[in-house]
């Protein structure tokens, strides 16, 4: 197990360095950072001053090495845009995105798994059709539209929920629903398909034959096997939610890490983008690792492998 973890960690470091190197060079390809930093109203003099100030006149490789050496010591530098330490900025924004991501994935799992199970127990029933309708809607509805509809109904018409901001947990309700609903259909379909397959298998028939209660058959025998691919999917979805909740963060003015990353790319704020990309890629690695651990716990066969 130790070797397994060490291997994983080595791989993680390699992925992180590769991703950061690629993103660093891509940002230079996308446009001159000095021009982007100087802003639209800048004159040539402003741009040259910024180029000297930030050392953009040095070779890209030297600049990357400079960044990497500092980052390895935990110094992510100062945001070009906000003039604040990147670490503070990212931590503050990340807490919002983490809250939203955890709430979103919990909402998705809590609605999708039971619905998937029920749909699988009674395939082609009314409830299965309803679940299908829900998931098709979730997949087809763009989040920006769904988010705005929720705002129109619950903030404007009913006045129950605040439309934007992060002050209290109430502010997170609508963003959670929008973000979670987006991830829900895939999880539900996968649960349903897995359950259908498992319920048709021999060992379930055996379990029923030996007189196990229906609940025990469903949850102890069937779901435990059907959920394994769902765990892997949820891990990827979670990574996606943390890095890709840009639309939701923008509609509900949450000022999270996803929105920060998106805006920072447009602003060529290299230190911020680099730190965020590093963190996002680490998230994917951590969640995939966690899902492997969970799956190993669910399925003893995986522990051996």
């Amino acid at each position: 197990m130790l070797v397994f973890i060490l291997k994983r960690l080595g791989l993680a470091a390699l992925v992180a360095v590769t991703v950061s190197a690629i993103s660093f060079s891509l940002l230079f390809l996308a446009g001159d950072p000095a021009t982007a930093l100087a802003g639209e109203q800048a004159t040539d003099v402003d741009i040259e001053a910024i180029r000297r100030l930030y050392g953009f006149d040095r070779p890209v490789l030297v600049q990357y090495w400079d960044w990497l050496a500092k980052a390895l010591q935990g110094d992510f530098g100062e945001s070009y845009y906000f003039k604040l330490p990147v670490a503070d900025l990212v931590l503050q924004r990340l807490s919002i995105t983490m809250t939203l991501g955890v709430c979103g994935i919990s909402f998705a799992l809590l609605t999708a798994v039971p619905l998937g199970v029920i749909a699988a127990i009674r395939p082609n029933s009314l409830i299965d059709r309803l679940a299908l309708l829900l998931s098709v809607m979730g997949q087809a509805m763009p989040s920006f539209w769904f988010g705005l509809m929720l705002i129109v109904i619950f903030s404007i018409q009913l006045g129950w929920l605040p439309p934007s901001g992060t002050k209290t947990w109430v502010h997170f309700i609508m963003p959670t629903v929008v973000l979670g609903y987006y991830a829900m259909p895939a999880i539900m379909r996968l649960t349903r398909a897995g359950m259908l397959e498992v319920l048709a298998s021999d060992y379930i028939r055996t379990a029923r034959a030996k007189g196990a209660g229906e609940g025990r058959v469903l949850f102890k025998h069937a779901l435990r096997n059907a959920i394994i691919p769902v765990v892997s999917l949820a891990a990827v979805q979670m990574g996606f939610m943390l890095g890709g909740s840009i639309v939701v963060e923008s509609i509900f003015a949450l000022h999270g890490a996803g929105y920060l990353a998106w805006e920072s790319i447009g602003r060529n704020d290299l230190p911020t983008v680099q730190a965020l990309i590093l963190i996002f890629s680490m998230f994917y690695i951590v969640f995939t690792f966690l899902s492997d651990v969970v799956n190993a716990w669910l399925d003893p066969r995986m522990r051996a492998g």
Binding site: G159, S250, H255
Partner: protein, 504 residues
């Protein structure tokens, strides 16, 4: 479980009510939305419109330009005079105190000017400050500012982007400290800064007898809400009182509703086409031929663009500057919409069947596409490229582009030197490279006699129009939408002035 749910429900409703109660007249709190995340409140270290809005509320300049009459009035200075072409002397106002209690005097002016004029301190928009060499204290309330070269627009700049900071505090806090806890002499002091997302201003009770007037609204609460639809939702839900920079189609809808006032005002930004007259993209480039450039100018129905797309107070412009700017001579050759004449000019230039060209833009895709279709109509086939601003600018600086749709807001500086001189003096963005124009602009930019300046700007602008180096299109406008409790008349410089806002 049931009681927990009940508690949650009650809490949710209570919270909903409390957020709703934050805005509006009853709480004396004006809730405003910004669309963009402001990088740093320190006005020397941001280049955003939002930054200008905060700057005018928190700080004061030595001079104030009345936005209605364009007349210069003393603010932190009581009077000023030119000692010679390179020296300005100011008599300062006595008895002014900064928000933190620090008294205002000559030391503050000297420190601020010397700090911002030093390139090493990295002020973001160098043009705003790099005309100043240094400042010198004569006595406690007399200051001299030394210029690097004659710069007649000095007073305009001192009334705009150059605000005076408290020397003791700024020496200690620096730009990032100032950004987090701003201190000025302005009508509003800052009680909260959450970088980029939330700013709270409070009326400064000790505000001096300034030409800006006295603040009326007690508290201004500004939140950054990137999505304009969410801003509108908050306006409906009365958690916002005022939004601005509202797109024309949304503003039209809001204007039909009784509970809101929609005020449209022009901005100093103009849109224009740049044409590669100097042949930077190749000697044989068709735009080096004046007939082709004039054909382009005749091809575009600018009135229709203003009517259908920009709307509001936008106007067609024919000069390479914004009409209110000092020296922006209006009586230049102009080109009416005449596609037949355009086609004839193209044929005369040797392109009876038109030609194909690359066409670039970085904002307002809809405007750029409309322009492209006008060009297509006379036979100029355009390969349209929409780029990020920095990418397009880099391309233009390196090798030039044949045609591009550009805009320029002059940083709200009411002087032609802020626009025409930025683009026609052989800089990297100069696609005309006309030595006459450059020499005339040089005279106009540095002459101290206003009449001489006007004369030479007129010469330069006339030649630019006659040669059709640029095809000026239209001025931009912006919409301010506020609830009926709010009383505000916007000014044509796109600066939202909280000090001018009051409750009805």
């Amino acid at each position: 479980m049931k009681s927990f749910m009940l508690k949650c429900g009650v809490a949710a409703i209570a919270l909903g009510l409390s957020t709703a109660a934050q805005a509006g007249k009853s709480e004396d709190t004006l809730s405003v939305a910004f669309t963009k995340e402001l990088e740093n409140v320190d006005s020397y270290f941001n280049s955003a419109r939002e930054g200008v809005v905060l700057q005018r509320a928190i700080w004061d300049g030595l001079v104030y330009r009345d936005p209605a009459t364009n007349e210069y009035k003393g603010n932190l200075a009581m009077s000023w005079k030119w000692i010679d072409d390179l020296t300005l002397e100011f008599k300062l106002r006595e008895g002014v105190k900064f928000h933190n209690g620090e008294p205002f005097d000559a030391d503050d002016v000297v420190y601020t000017v010397n700090f911002v004029a030093d390139e090493a301190n990295g002020v973001k928009t160098q043009r705003n400050v790099n005309w100043m060499k240094s400042a010198e204290k004569v006595d406690s309330y007399t200051v001299r500012i030394h210029l690097k070269a004659p710069f007649p627009a000095a007073i305009e700049f001192l009334s705009g982007p150059v605000s005076i900071y408290p020397n003791e505090y700024y020496a200690e806090a620096g730009p990032s400290g100032m950004g987090l806890k701003p201190v000025g002499t302005g009508p509003y002091k800052v009680s909260l800064v959450e970088p980029g997302k939330h700013f709270v201003l409070e009326k400064y009770e000790g505000y001096h007898d300034s030409p800006k007037g006295q603040p009326s609204i007690g508290k201004v609460d500004i939140r950054t809400i990137p999505d304009v639809n969410t801003q509108m939702a908050e306006l409906f839900g009365s958690t916002l009182d005022l939004i601005w920079q509202v797109p024309a189609d949304q503003a039209e809808k809001l204007a039909t509703m009784d509970q809101f006032t929609v005020a449209n005002e022009s901005t100093m930004r103009i849109g224009f086409l740049t044409l590669d007259a100097a042949g930077r993209t190749g000697e044989k480039n068709p735009f080096t031929d004046i007939r082709v450039r004039r054909a382009v100018a005749h091809a575009i129905n600018r009135e229709a663009l203003v009517e259908a797309l920009l709307k509001g107070k936008s106007k067609v412009v024919s000069t390479a500057c914004f009409p209110s700017q000092f020296g922006c001579f209006q009586d230049v050759p102009s080109y009416g919409y005449d596609p037949e004449k355009a086609k004839a000019l193209l044929a005369e230039a040797g392109y009876p069947d038109g030609f194909e060209t690359e066409f670039y833009a970085y904002r307002n895709r809809d405007y750029a596409e409309a322009i492209a279709s006008f060009l297509n109509a006379i036979g100029i086939k355009t390969n349209f490229h929409m780029l990020q601003y920095s990418a397009l600018r880099e391309l233009r600086m390196k090798s030039g582009v044949p045609v591009s749709f550009q805009t320029w807001g002059s940083y709200s500086i009411n002087d032609t030197s802020a626009i025409t001189s930025q683009f026609f003096k052989f800089g990297k963005l100069d696609d005309a490279r006309d030595p006459d124009v450059r020499d005339w602009l040089d005279v106009a930019d540095s002459a101290t006699d206003p009449e001489k300046r006007k004369e030479f700007y007129a010469k330069a602008l006339t030649k630019i129009a006659d040669q059709a180096y640029w095809v000026p299109m239209f001025s931009y406008n912006t919409n301010y939408v506020f609830t009926n409790e709010v009383s505000y008349t916007p000014t044509p410089d796109e600066v939202l002035r909280f000090v001018e806002i009051s409750w009805k």
